[in-house]
């Protein structure tokens, strides 16, 4: 087995606020292999985006990585000095943000922004970088790239701008791409194109992709594996087909039940009662227990840790034989 491109171990992220620290991420672990797409799904506030930002080292104060380890191809990166981390960002890890309309500096030509990024991470000359920028724009599917390269961001449509953003993310051939809700701000018709573009780029270059989204449909289409996050923890992680067809965690069950399918028209869509707890008021034990139909006493006392079940791993007392015995 080769070393995973990204390996996150027991990550903890805290936000120091006036009324005490809020733990946004609490003990998250996962791996992404070369060429693999990991989908990270969950409600807003579950900690998906924060996880992505923590990996690339962009958690701003008052937030901080409070514990755990992050490895990029074996190199530990969570404690690197800012300058070293900066060299990794954009070169070895590419990032795509949610809103292409605001991701690009409106006062700079897109070509200048790409050339600037390339020249930051390589020794290419101005002309060579420009040539590469045109190639990149062509690769992400921008028509007439040799002309469009001198355009300003506002001259591009939302979908085209997201392509530019993707070109920027891949311009130094990174090992890992973190895509944070890359399609949420786009029209539905454009979403599919962007998703297939990310997927194709991942396949062509063998890039590992961490795809953060709240849209299970996007995950089902693109990901190899999926991590379901709930209030700062991974509730369940496993191959995408297994998790979709056989979700184990009650929350994942609810989430999968909330996807409409063509086949099961007679089934009612499942709705999960209640809403995710605020970070300042996470209940004791399993944070999902107030909304869980299967919760028993132990769920309100002890927090479940992820346990492996076949291809999946799930953090739920229902699947922990020892706990069941104790409770009974």
């Amino acid at each position: 087995m080769t070393e995973p491109v990204l390996s996150v171990r027991d990550l903890q992220v805290e936000f120091a606020l006036r009324r005490g620290a809020l733990r946004a991420i609490d003990g998250v672990s996962f791996d992404i292999a070369k060429g693999e797409v990991l989908g990270v799904v969950g409600e807003s506030g579950a900690g998906k985006s924060v996880t992505g930002l923590a990996v690339i080292g962009l958690i701003d104060p008052p937030g901080r990585i409070a514990g755990g380890e992050i490895y990029l191809s074996g190199l530990r990166i969570d404690h690197l000095p800012p300058e070293d981390l900066r060299r990794i960002r954009g070169k070895r890890i590419g990032m795509i943000f949610q809103d292409p309309l605001t991701s690009l500096n409106p006062l700079y030509r897109i070509g200048d922004q790409i050339v600037e990024t390339i020249r930051t991470h390589t020794n290419l000359s101005e002309q060579a970088a420009r040539k590469r920028a045109i190639d990149l724009l062509a690769e992400v599917g921008i028509p007439a790239p040799d002309k469009r390269i001198d355009g300003y961001p506002h001259e591009f449509s939302g979908g085209m701008r997201q392509r530019v953003v993707i070109a920027l993310a891949i311009c130094a051939e990174p090992e890992l791409i973190i895509a944070d809700e890359p399609t949420t701000a786009l029209d539905v018709s454009v979403q599919a194109q962007i998703i297939s573009l990310i997927k194709r780029l991942g396949r062509d270059h063998g890039t590992a992709v961490m795809l953060v989204t709240h849209d299970m449909g996007v995950i089902a289409e693109t990901s190899d594996r999926v991590a379901v996050m709930y209030s700062g923890r991974i509730a369940e992680i496993g191959p995408v087909q297994d998790v979709i067809q056989n979700p184990m965690h009650p929350y994942a069950k609810g989430l999968m039940g909330a996807i409409p399918t063509l086949a099961g028209e007679d089934k009612r869509l499942v709705q999960i009662p209640g809403s995710m707890p605020r970070l300042s008021a996470i209940p004791q034990g399993c944070s999902f227990n107030p909304r869980c139909a299967f919760a028993f006493d132990w769920c309100r006392i002890e927090r479940p840790e992820p346990i492996r079940h076949g291809t999946q791993a799930v953090a739920c007392h229902l699947y922990d034989a020892s706990v069941k015995e104790t409770a009974a």
Binding site: L58, G90, S103, L107, T120, Y152, A169
Partner: protein, 326 residues
């Protein structure tokens, strides 16, 4: 772009007409111009004669048209106190004011931007806090107090700099400049600092606020995610985006600087238009007041116009929306 320019030009002319009406009303209705020219014991017949010769018996609209016509040729009548054409008085004093205002603006821009950028990027350092304190004092101390304080320090106590006047000036055509002599430059220092301090404070605060705002934007976050160097992000991306609104404000402020020069010129007895205006207000010299108002408005409106156009040159988004709208 042409339509936009035209639109702005029409707006500017509208403002000038409005100011013209105000100036004319002051000139015509605030006190009887005849009284200012004739003495108290002038017989009524002679008064009527003067009134007629001034055209004050014509319909108001005719008088207004005449006033505007004259103003367009920079004829603003005769000063009550000096018995000289107002235009000559103003032109004689304009170089002094413009030199002072320009120096003050340059000082304010250079230091304001430097201090603003520093205090945005190094928010919690001692120096940044010191800048913040200076800015609060700059806003709180009235201009004339700063002037008095400087005079007390550098003229009365230390005797380094002159406390009043322009020093020796060199005449170049109709323009007089104090920039070419040592005494002229020395005389310029304190007034420029006094006048520029408030603007510097303003620019510093604006730069700081804008820069902090820009640093929070998505494209800065994305620039960081692209691994650009801090220097490139701060001084390439953030600064450029910060300076766009700052240019506007600083440009617009130039008009204010000229108007604020009234105070500085009084403190330092600087022989500019502002001092002339203050004397005019004290002595109810309406023609000078009206002319000053028109002159300053013209400068304001011109600057506004130029800044608007400049803004579209700097910001590509505006350029295309404007050409799109045109």
């Amino acid at each position: 772009m042409l339509a936009f320019t035209l639109h702005r030009a029409i707006q500017a002319i509208g403002v000038m007409i409005a100011v013209g009406i105000i100036a004319f009303s002051m000139f015509r209705f605030a006190g009887d111009p005849v009284n200012q020219i004739v003495s108290l014991d002038t017989p009524p017949a002679e008064r009527a004669e003067v009134r007629k010769s001034l055209g004050l018996d014509d319909p108001v609209i005719v008088q207004f048209a005449r006033y505007v016509g004259n103003a367009a040729q920079f004829k603003f009548g005769v000063s009550y106190q000096f018995r000289q054409p107002v235009t000559a008085l103003l032109m004689e004093r304009m170089p002094a004011t413009l030199e002072l205002a320009t120096c003050a603006t340059v000082l304010a821009m250079v230091f304001g931007i430097l201090m603003g950028v520093y205090s945005a990027l190094r928010r919690d350092t001692l120096l940044a806090k010191a800048f913040q304190a200076i800015s609060l004092i700059g806003i709180s101390l009235p201009t004339f107090l700063i002037g008095i304080l400087l005079i007390y320090l550098f003229s009365v106590t230390l005797g380094w700099l002159p406390s009043f006047g322009r020093g020796d000036v060199v005449r170049i055509g109709w323009w007089t400049t104090g920039l070419l002599t040592v005494s002229g430059l020395k005389a310029l220092i304190m007034p420029s600092v006094t006048l520029g301090l408030f603007q510097m404070t303003l620019i510093m605060r604006l730069v700081r606020a804008e820069m902090l705002e820009v640093l929070r934007t998505d494209y800065i976050r994305f620039a960081r995610a692209r691994g650009l160097t801090t220097r490139a992000i701060h001084f390439g991306h953030a600064l450029k985006n910060t300076l766009v609104p700052v240019i506007t404000v600083a440009g617009l402020q130039f008009g204010s600087v000229i108007a604020f020069a009234i105070i500085t010129e009084t403190v330092f007895q600087w022989p500019g238009m502002g001092l002339l205006f203050v004397q005019a207000v004290q002595n109810v010299d309406i023609p000078i007041m009206a002319a000053y108002l028109l002159m300053v408005s013209l400068i304001f409106v011109t600057i506004n116009f130029v800044v608007d156009i400049l803004y579209t040159v700097v910001d590509p988004r505006l350029r295309s929306t404007i050409s799109g709208a045109a």
